[in-house]
């Protein structure tokens, strides 16, 4: 009798463990569109995706797995490095970029093309967060990555550009405030403002417009690296604390003069990546305030620095606007380290 109970315990438990979620899942999963092909399996894939999406344990499993990894190893995902004091870094800063671009050739070709139209190119290398906050890392990065920034500046110097060194500015400014967001790949609004001010000093020209920057109330901020460490309902026990951001907004003063018929002279076109494109960091606003020029922001998120510039040159928008300056914001992590040798 005891053996019978013993023998039936595992089969019964297993049957219940798979049957209950099955009944729930099959009963609640909606059928996909009828025009999807059963023959080629697209209908089945669509149904399976819905089945998994509706599976009651998916969310809690993912959160529990992340929480467990965080608690045991202080790691959660190969795409994020968790440093001291809960500082997060993208692992893109710890490896060479996948796309192979000849940095020197790109800079030279872009500068030459813009110069033909009387436009001055101002390339700005945005240093890796891992460079500015190296003290938060558990160990040094590879040597070729450590020297990449200086090598990139050398390339710019060789190509005849003025030595703008945001790494030095952002490191020095740390004494006054965080120049990068703790849970995000990007700089803070404060860091962006520091760089904008220094660029303004270096341009050697000032526009006639007046801008004012308003600081808004501090807001909760979920950095772009937070999804990799999201412990959800386990966050009160184990998790990376949320951070806050002081948002700011830059607007032109009402009393500011306009040109004839209300047209405005555009002094700067900004091309680059999410460092410039994301409104939270207000880099274009800081540039306006610092330079007195109106700024057209052509930066694009998620495409790296080279594609937006190629696109802007190809469709003629830069020559059409004909600004005095094109500021090209280039994050260091998109530059191949060994191509600089």
């Amino acid at each position: 009798m005891f053996n019978d109970v013993q023998n039936s315990l595992l089969p019964t438990s297993f049957a219940l463990a798979i049957a209950v979620p099955a009944a729930l899942g099959l009963a609640t999963t909606e059928l996909p569109r009828a025009d999807l092909s059963v023959m080629s399996g697209t209908y089945q894939r669509a149904y399976e995706d819905r089945f998994v999406d509706g599976f009651p344990l998916t969310e809690i499993s993912r959160e529990a797995y992340t929480a467990l990894n965080l608690a045991l190893f202080n790691q959660t995902d190969p795409e994020v490095v968790i440093g001291a004091d809960d500082w997060l870094f993208t692992t893109e800063e710890f490896r060479a970029p996948s796309a192979s671009v000849d940095f020197a050739a790109e800079i030279r070709a872009t500068a030459d093309e813009l110069a033909q139209h009387g436009i001055r190119l101002v390339p700005i290398i945005i240093p890796d967060k891992a460079r500015i906050y190296a003290d938060k890392l558990p160990r040094a990065r590879d040597a070729e990555l450590s020297v990449r920034y200086d090598a990139a500046l050398d390339v710019l110097a060789t190509e005849g550009f003025e030595g703008l060194d945001p790494a030095t500015w952002l490191t020095a400014a740390r004494a006054e405030g965080a120049t990068f967001m703790r849970t995000d790949t990007h700089w803070s609004p404060f860091g962006a403002e520091q760089v904008a001010n220094r660029i303004s000093d270096a341009l050697g020209a000032r526009g006639s417009l007046n801008f004012e920057t308003q600081t808004l109330a501090a807001q909760d901020f979920d950095g772009d690296l937070m999804p990799f460490v999201d412990t959800g309902r386990f966050a009160p026990w184990v998790g990376i604390p949320q951070e806050h951001v002081d948002l700011s907004q830059t607007t032109k003063r009402d009393d500011d003069g306009l040109g004839l018929f209300g047209d405005e002279e555009i002094g700067i076109v900004l091309v680059g990546t999410s460092f410039s494109a994301r409104a939270e960091f207000n880099f274009d606003g800081a540039l306006k305030a610092a330079t007195g020029f109106d700024v057209v922001n052509l930066a694009v998120e998620g495409q790296g620095p080279f594609a937006p510039m190629s696109e802007a040159l190809a469709d003629g928008v830069l020559t059409e606007i004909a600004p005095q300056f094109v500021i090209w914001e280039i994050p260091e992590r998109y530059i191949q380290p060994w191509r600089l040798k």
Partner: protein, 464 residues
Amino acid sequence: MIFASHIFIFGFLPLFLATYYLAPARARSALILLASYGFYGWWRVDYLGLVIAISLVSYVAAAAAARAASPRARKCAVTTGVVLILGALGYFKYATFVVGLTSDLGVALGGPGFAIDAIILPIGISFLSFQAISYIIDVARKDAPPARNLIDYLAFVSLFPQLIAGPVLRYKDLADQFVQRTHSMEKFGLGVRRFVEGLAMKLLIADTVAPLADRAFALTDPTMAEAWLGTLAYSIQLLFDFAGYSSMAIGLGLMVGFTFTENFNAPYTSTSITEFWRRWHISLSAWLRDYLYVPLGGNRGGAIATYRNLLLTMVLGGLWHGANVTFILWGALHGAALAVEKLLGVRAGQSRLPFGISWVTTMVIVMIGWVLFRAPTLADALAMYRGMLGLNDVALSSSFLYATQSVELLALCIGGTLATLGPRLKAMSVTPPQRGLTTTACLMIASTLVLSARLNSPFLYFQF
């Protein structure tokens, strides 16, 4: 459909088991057949036609061979069936490879290059073909009786627990079980245990170390430590992936009363390559021996012919795994190692060297072979070999260390320990039933958690 997926574990399996145990005994083969076609058709329904065609060809060819009035007629039936099946396998698996090689040769000789449209490789076609061929030959040799009826045979060939990635079953081993097999709570419970163990092997070990192997094999210039660590990770990943799948297949079989042959027996404890092939993918080794090595002459034609047959069998076995020169070289490596061991008089389990030396030597050869098995191209394999020889650098690079997750290393350590010491640990432990239940429950919970957290878990052997 794959075993390690929500739709299988929490959709297909409970529906199938409920229907199976509610159905009368005489309808169960037909039910297995329908379920197996549904299982395969979940991938693509259009390719189900190929499964049915190969099944019917082998059924008809075997029936013709069994009824043949003369040896010549029997041979004709066997040849026709085998050629048709190999023709289908050749078209779907090797046509692109052969056309590519021919084109490259043409270009090298100054002619034009050419190509054909990509051909979708139907999942499981390699396993299906081997099972179908073995049926024809077994019936022709009178090693097995022809199937009792078409439904039983179709159900055998498409039996979903082993349809896609083996073990390579032979009809003669299952014929009686289609007529009569037992069902009991004890057997079902054992099946559950094997299934959950296999699921845990796959999800907790193989899938966890997989990123480590992937990162190492993606490096263009791996250091010595990176190359060896990546190869070690892949060795553990492959074992736990495939042995896990086999364990799940065996467990599913037990749940519906079938007893399949074991496919793995602690292969990383081997002290020779000869022993390794008695322990790794046992059903394939047996198939290659019975339907390739022996027909080629086996060891009956003297030493040189034996070495040639060993080499040829393993090269063809390598080619069976994939249409790539890397698989051919992998097979050649194992064939050469088997031939050398034959020459030295090495027998499985009877090493002439001290255990430590013969074990390390065997594992190094196996791992060198896995590099060819894993690398997408020969150039990638050579890059890995350069790393293993220390031609780039020695230590782990900082970028590799930053990407490496502690959980991957933990899974590698557990996998390595189980793979090498598992049999001894098992022999030392006496597991009371209630502890077995607790272990199974814990493994099931952990596997479900990891399955849901990661969501994507393809099996390596699906590509074959």
